[in-house]
Amino acid sequence: MSGTDGLEYTIQLFYVFSLTVGCMLYTIHNTFDDIQNKLVADLGCGCGVLSVGAAVLDAGLCVGFDIDEYALDIFKGNVEDFELSNIDTVQCDVCSIGSSYAKKFDTVIMNPPFGTKHNQGIDMQFLRTAISMASTAVYSLHKTSTRDHIQKKANDWKVKMEVIAELRYDLPASYKFHKKKSVDIQVDFIRFTPT
């Protein structure tokens, strides 16, 4: 597989999750009040599903970060369709931004790449960066199978981890290399806060 195919595969997974992220945002807003009038970052924003939602829920400003210019182009289209002014975007490699944005954001929201065929461990890199950027909370989605591993890391990084919900998806096979007809994915919606 070429590098571009790998990226398309990852992007396709994101589309499946777009309905759930709406529910995610609603919880962040209603239960925790971490969106309205807050400075929000969306790491790995892709086409901007989370960012558009955060903007509609009156974030002070939501900044989307992604490496893929095609996804960001679609993002721009979505922003125009919704006529939103409280959104901004940066094209960059989230895994390389280190601590440049240390504590600059109130809230970080994300649906990180899950570390599939080509990028093992990328979700943990995203999480580490997110935690450094957020002064109040990080909201993220991670495979349930990695929950114990993430809890260990959260302890190491001195952050409190709260699994807000467990979500399940049935993903149909869509690529030639998929051996099974469909696959059942279990995902945790997690809130991280500094201790």
Binding site: L39, G60, E69, K104
Partner: protein, 122 residues
Amino acid sequence: MKLLTHNMLTSHVKGVIKGYPLIIKATEVKVNELEFNGQFVSRMIPKLEWSALIQAAGWLGQSQDLPSTLIPDYENDEEFLRKVHRILLEVEVIEGCLQCPESGREFPISKGVPNMLLNEDE
């Protein structure tokens, strides 16, 4: 790219010690209205590198009598907060580039999106 975002961006070119603030060279700038929220602006001000904001405003010809150092008691000065709101959130660079002040490396801004990606050798 809004100036609130620009205020956080740095250059990570190899060997650069302080790639901040990035010099703005804009060829297209737009001003988009965004509902004023004094509380939000007031909360953002302490997070800003104020002098970098003033420089950025200058590069865009949008200095608008913004003071070079923060005035005390700005939280209660609505006229001041409205000026800050405008420069932070309403002025947007659509086309142009950001230049690293140390290495000179230029990061393009296209359709409002700054591209901070580095090549492998950087």
